[in-house]
Symmetry: C2
Subunit: 136 residues, 2 copies
């Protein structure tokens, strides 16, 4: 299914902005923030506005098309929408995907509370930044 059909199937009108934003996330595995997506896409869509990017991303997230990664005071977006976790480096700020088997996510409830979503964020120094430190 192409992007246009996919959006239609979610009752989202496939405008050029929405298609480009969606495809941007699918082809960039870098977990960009709204600002970055905007800065890149404006090259193709010169009249694009930042609020359209924000609104579109929120719409996609509400429809389960993408994941939001809430970090300290910033939100990153992930086109890979299967449940998984993230690692954010305290030095370079890069966001990595982490796939671990979480048995508790197979449960529907935890302590009586209904589980709809789980967002796990690791923090520390990533392997790249560790290497850089060793070289010094």
């Amino acid at each position: 299914m192409n992007t246009k059909e996919l959006l239609k199937s979610k009752n989202i009108k496939p405008t050029i902005q929405r298609i480009k934003i969606y495809e941007y996330l699918k082809t960039h595995k870098t977990h960009p923030d709204a600002e970055t997506i905007y800065a890149d896409l404006i090259k193709e869509l010169p009249t694009l506005s930042l609020s359209t990017v924000y609104n579109t991303l929120k719409e996609f997230a509400n429809n389960g098309l993408i994941l939001e990664v809430f970090a300290e005071h910033k939100t990153y977006f992930d086109g890979y929408n299967q449940p998984h976790n993230h690692y954010i480096c305290d030095i370079c700020g890069k966001v990595y995907d982490i796939n671990i088997e979480f048995n508790f996510l197979k449960k529907k409830k935890i302590s009586g509370h209904l589980i709809k979503k789980f967002c796990g964020i690791f923090r520390g120094i990533c392997s790249e930044c560790q290497k850089k430190r060793e070289q010094k």
Copy 2:
């Protein structure tokens, strides 16, 4: 060890503001935000300012005295500083402590990245709000 001695041991001067904020978090299991702590403590400390609350909480978190719970656009503070996870209700917004055994947290690294912290947040409808819905 009382609060005064504890703060001293972390090289934090035990001022009345700091002592009261720390003790507030230790006695309130409700995961308040900075605003709530401020609103409650100003009754005892009429000259307290919101920025002092923010600065103090940040200082405590950096020293491992408390935990920060980063939710969508808001930060909650938790006086219980042992690693654990949280559940936030989408309906009432209440924050619950979740204690699960995370085997991977015993590891020092994940995919080569050094683990310093892990913050896991569940989302959904809490048991209280489920009951309220059933009653309707």
